[in-house]
Structures are given as C-alpha cells and as structure tokens.
Amino acid sequence: MSMSSDFRPLSGDVAAAQQRFLALFLRSEREIFRYVAALVPSVIETEEIVQQTAITLWEKFDAYDPAKPFTPWACRFALNKTRQWIERRQRWQALLTEGLAEELARRREELRPEWERRFAQLEGCVAKLPDDERAVVEGYYYRRSRIEALAGESGRTVEATYKMLQRIRRVLKHCIENAEQMGEAT
C-alpha cells in the first residue's frame, strides 16, 4: 500500500487515527531511535531510518493491535528498515555483516536493564559540563548544527571539534558510571 495511491477520504476520523498514531509513535520514538542507532549510530542516518520507519508504521497502522505494546511492534519495522539501509551501504555492511547486527541488537536488550540507572545520571552529568563543552554538545546533539558551524563558533578546527565531542562523551561516560557507583555507596 503506497501513500500516494491511498486516497482515504479526508475526515475527522482519519485525522483522529493519525493523532492516535502520532501520540503512540511519539512516546516510542526515543526508544526506536536508540534501537536503530545501536546498529547505525551516525545521527543523520539514524534520523533518516527512523523517519522511513515512521512512514511504514503509519502505512501498517491498521494492522496494529492496540491491546499490545506499541514499541516492540514498531521496533520490528525499524529493524527491517535498518537492514535495508545496511544492505545498500558497503561501509555498514563491512561493520555489521555476518550476523553482527542481530548480535548487537540482542546483546543490547540484555544490557539495557543494567544501563538504566547509569543513564538516569546523564542529565546531571550534562549539566555539570563546563559552558564551552556544553555549548558544543548542545550544538551537535540538540540543535543539530553543522560541525563546520560549531567549529566556527568555538574557533576550533573541524577535526578538533570532533575530538572534543569524543572527549566529552568519555567524560560523560565516566560521570554516569561514577555517579552510579556513588549512588550505590549511599
């Protein structure tokens, strides 16, 4: 069923179905994003895959059983979209071939309960970053500025800006791990 040939009548019912779909999708979106990113972590590509997934989900929404949780249903489609994405790209194939994609997705599910407490610390850790570092992380992840623009704003080279992001993530990883341990100590 393609969208363009699907000339549903324009009515409040359809709009209501869309709104229901969106409300469900929005609640699951972060989950779907992270699910996809575990396999294809490049943000622009993750976004693209999630958006393609959203369109497919809407196309299949008639088949969704509201009695069942939405996220697992959605993630099945996300996995398919991600597989298609990988198949068409040599670089991702090089990384994820020979069943590694499936293995990563499976292992991630196992690890998630352990991670939960750690990631709960992330907001506090981001808030503790020095201003210039938070500006870069916010620019890259939140405002989605181009790396060249971020480099320009902070007077660094593009290369140095990437390095800085790498360093900040290392700091944040230490922070959430330490915070978790401190939490356990008390």
């Binding site: 409300a23 994003f33 990631f119 704003e153 790498q166």
Partner: protein, 543 residues
C-alpha cells in the same frame, strides 16, 4: 590489520562510527574485534548508547534553555537554525518530547486529500467566490451606465469598471489599493493584476501584495514595493513613481526600473521618454487616498476604544493586540486587564509587518522557525479562541493558528488544513480518545491576502465546538470529550517542531501569513459576542 581492545584505535574508530566518518577499513577492523571480543562489544554498545541518548533526549538540554534569559533567547534566535528554543518554565521531565513526527499526520492527511482539494464543495457562505476585490470607497462617482454601477462595500468580480466621473477606491484581495479617477475604464483581472484601458489610476501596494501589476495598451507596470500612478489616454501611457520602485515593460522589451520621482511616457509606437514624476496630475487621487486613510485611521481608533473595554472582561485570559511591536523586543504583551494569569509571549523569528490598518503592526510568519511561544496554565470548562489573520497561502498540510505542545490529556490544537478547512482537535484522557472537528473548506484562494477573523469555541458545558469565520458560525460539532481542557505551553503560528530537529519539509506545520490580534477567553462566547469581535475589528467600515 588487527584492532585490539582497549586501545586508542578502538576509541577513535567508535567515535568515527558515531560521527558517520568511519572508513570501510575501520569498519572491517571493528567488525573483527567486535566478533572476537565480548568485552569490546559491550563497551561499543555502551558508547553508542550514550551517543544515541544525547541525540534523542532533548530533556538533557532543556534545563539549560529553560533558564535562558531574554537576552540569551535573542542571541539564540539570531543564529537560529530553525530549531525551537525552549522558553517554558516547566521542569524538563514535564516536557513532552514533541518531535518532528507530530506533523506526520498532516503529511498523510494531505497526501490523501491533495487530489480532492479543489473539487470539494465550496461553502455556501461564499457568495463572492469569484471576487478579486472590493469597492471600498467612492466620492461623487458616476458610472458609465446603470449596469456599470457598483455599490460601495460590494465585492468585485473580474471584469470592467467603467467610471464616467468621480473617484473610487478598489481594494484588491492581495491587499493592493487602487484609486481610480473618472473617466476611466479599468478591467479587474485577478487579486494581483488589472488592466487600465484609459483614465488615471494610482496604486498603493503594501508589502504583502508586492508584484501587483497594472497593464495599459502600451506598457505593463509591476510593483516592487511602491506607490505609483498610471495615466492612460488614447495616445500614450505614463507611469509616475511616487514611492519605492516599479518595473515596467514596453511590448516585448526587457523590464526597466523606475525609482521614486521618476516617470516614463510611452506612446503608441512604443517610444519611451523619461520625465519627472508629476504628483499634481494625480492630486485628486492623492486627496481620495488621504480621505480614505482618515477613514481607516478612525476604524483603527474605534477598534482601540472597543478593546479598552474588552480588556476588562474577567474571562479574558490573554489578549495580544500586537500594538507595541518593536524590532528589538521579542515579547508579545498580554494586554488583558487580568493578564497575570498568562505571561507575555516570546516571539521567535517572525517579522514585523503592516496589520489591518496603515500603521497597525502585525507579525508575519514565513519561515518554519517563526512562532510565538506562551503558556496558559490552568484547567478550563470552556474556551474561546479569536484571531485576526491574513493567510498568504496554505503551504503546509496543517497550518497552525494556536497549537498546544504535545498530546497531553485535554490539550487543544487549532489550525487550518491545506484544503481550507478549520480544524480544532481535542485530546482526551487516553491516547485513543481524540476528537477532531473540521469545518467545511472556508479559507481558499479568494481569502488569501485578506484580513479574516477566525474564532473557535470549545464549550464543555453544552458539549459543542463551533468554528466561526468573520463573525459567522460555519460549523457546529458535538463534543463528547468532557472538561477539563488544558492548554499549557503552546505556540501561535507553529507547532513546536524543533525540539527534535528534523530536516524533512513535510514535518513542519508553520503558518504562512500575518496575525495582528489574538485572544483566549475561559468561557464559551455566544454567537452575538463573536459577531461583535468581528465587527469591532473589521478593517473597513460599513457603508
């Protein structure tokens, strides 16, 4: 080449994968390592999860932006990438992550509707569906015949205006005003152009009608933001520019530009002569214009007087009159007497433009980042929304008037669908409870460029929703979702699409046009009260 773990090489490769920069060679090495080492695999997954968490959780940054001062907001805005800057006072956890995908619905809806749009039944309350202009004013007008007579205040369809003597003013639906001095023969073609066969006309073109053109047998004059006169007689046409610039074209020659103070005369042979603009030749039309300006100024004044009273209404939660807009102040002031319940709005993007009357400020919404954010705390048993808008086009599948962020229980979305239907949505307590109330298609090409009064009443008491256009109810709907209704943080002219930035155009649902008044009441206004809102704010007087 074998990669080991832990190592600098591993660190760099994982970062490169996250940044989308890894080479095929790096990918292969990483692949071998991850297959061979469970520890490397777990570490890889954790780092990627951290990266994905930063990329998918706007709340991580919300606390920072929630504390932003006005100055910071202004500076954010100046290097705006089109993304939303949070101004809400909510704690991050309270804030729904509202993503690009919200607008997906709009996309699908419209893809489906695209083929049907213009075949839809036109609302029967559009008796002037062909009209391109209105005859707004006349002084001692003598028409060529009884059949040519036109009433002041009447809509004008494409066709000839034959004026024997006197002065009339035509306001095109594009916003352009044309004063005509008889004897004259002018053919109205569309909201954006006319043909002057003979006579003297003067056009005053506000920014939104830029590109307005008038043709004569000898030339075509296209406005570039101006005031110009055209004098057409049996042997020649002359264009005089009093303000701004025009482009004019003779036969198939290239466009030429004229500045204020310049004029050009073109004879039947197409020979062009440049002279100085002569305002005296248009003295009668300037005089008409002055009188008309005085009438509009009085309307503007009457509107202000009516508002001074209206602002005292205790049910008025917020009223933005857009009166004190200055380029340096990004605040839209709530002028309701008891305005303490709703803090001022924050203007993000937008440009100041002309409203219903000369000198009346309005905000133009053009780019996907343009919006006014404000927050309406509380729970309500009924609500009335009222807005004066000038719709430039329905570019998006949904075009926001006032939209609450997100889909929390009780939230309301008020927008125009791209087929011209007014759409009000109420979210119930559960995800599956939602009601969407759509009027017939009421905003179309014929309304573009005109100031329209739109209102919607959500009446929890009598369980109905009513849509109004220019003071008249266009549809009534049964409301099954019970009060309380909530608004919370919301936007004029947009729908919070930037928290989770996106790049797909169809995920955006900003309004294209201008707004110069907006109000919310915490009760259901009656039909008569809505009509009064319209008549008090109607741009032109009744004759």
């Amino acid at each position: 080449m074998n990669m080991v773990f832990p190592s600098r090489e591993f660190d760099d490769s994982v970062a490169a994968v996250c940044h989308g920069l890894a080479s095929v060679e790096q990918m292969r090495s990483l692949h071998e390592l991850l297959r061979a080492s469970p520890a490397a695999r777990d570490e890889y997954l954790l780092r990627v999860e951290l990266h994905a968490g930063l990329a998918s959780d706007p709340d991580l940054f919300a606390s920072a932006s929630a504390e932003a001062t006005d100055t910071e907001v202004a500076s954010f805005r100046s290097r705006s990438t089109g993304n939303f800057v949070s101004l809400t006072k909510h704690t991050p956890k309270q804030r729904q992550m509202v993503t690009w995908a919200i607008s997906l619905a709009a996309c699908f809806l419209i893809l489906a509707a695209a083929g049907l749009n213009w075949f839809r039944h036109r609302s029967s309350r559009q008796p002037t569906s062909m009209a391109v202009a209105v005859l707004s004013y006349a002084v001692k007008a003598q028409w060529a015949s009884a059949a040519d007579a036109r009433a002041v205040g009447g809509a004008l369809e494409p066709g000839w205006l034959r004026l024997k003597s006197g002065l009339v003013q035509v306001t095109f639906y594009s916003g352009a005003r044309m004063a005509i001095e008889g004897p004259a023969q002018v053919q109205l073609i569309s909201p954006g152009d006319a043909f002057c066969n003979s006579g003297r006309v003067m056009a005053e073109v506000p920014p939104q009608a830029r590109g307005f053109s008038v043709e004569s047998p000898q030339m075509k004059v296209t406005d570039l933001g101006t005031e110009f006169g055209l004098d057409v007689n049996a042997t020649a046409s002359a264009v005089h520019v009093f303000n701004g610039n025009v482009a004019y074209q003779v036969a198939s020659a290239m466009n030429q530009n004229l500045k204020a103070g310049e004029a050009s005369v073109v004879d039947q042979a197409g020979v062009t002569r440049l002279i100085s603009a002569n305002p005296e030749a248009f003295a009668n039309l300037f005089d008409l214009q002055r009188k008309w300006q005085a009438i509009l100024a009085r309307r503007y004044e009457d509107w202000r007087t009516a508002n001074a009273r209206r602002n005292q209404d205790p049910s008025l939660l917020a009223r933005f009159d857009f009166e004190d807009l200055t380029a340096s102040d990004w605040t839209l002031h709530n002028v309701a007497a008891d305005g303490s319940r709703v803090p001022d709005g924050a203007i993000i993007g937008c440009q100041v433009t002309e409203g219903r009357w000369p000198g009346k400020p309005a905000l133009a919404f053009r780019s996907p980042s343009d919006r006014v954010r404000f927050s309406v705390p509380g729970e309500f048993r009924a609500l009335t929304f009222s807005a004066w808008v000038n719709v430039q086009g329905l570019d998006r599948q949904f075009n926001s008037l006032f939209m609450c962020d997100g889909f929390d229980a009780g939230k309301i979305h008020w927008q125009i669908c791209n087929d011209g239907a007014l759409d009000l949505g109420v979210q119930g307590q559960r995800v599956h409870d939602v009601q969407i109330f759509m009027s017939p298609a009421v905003v179309g090409f014929n309304q573009f460029g005109q100031w329209l009064h739109l209102a919607a009443v959500v009446d929890g008491e009598h369980r109905q929703v009513v849509h109004y256009v220019n003071g008249v109810a266009v549809s009534r709907h049964a409301l099954t979702l019970p009060p309380p209704y909530r608004l919370g943080a919301g936007e004029l002219g947009n729908w919070n699409p930037g928290e989770f930035p996106n790049k797909l155009p169809f995920l955006i649902r900003h309004f294209s046009g201008a707004m110069d008044e907006f109000a919310i009441f915490n009760r259901a206004l009656s039909d008569a009260e809505i009509l009064k809102l319209y008549s008090d704010g109607k741009p032109e007087p009744d004759f």
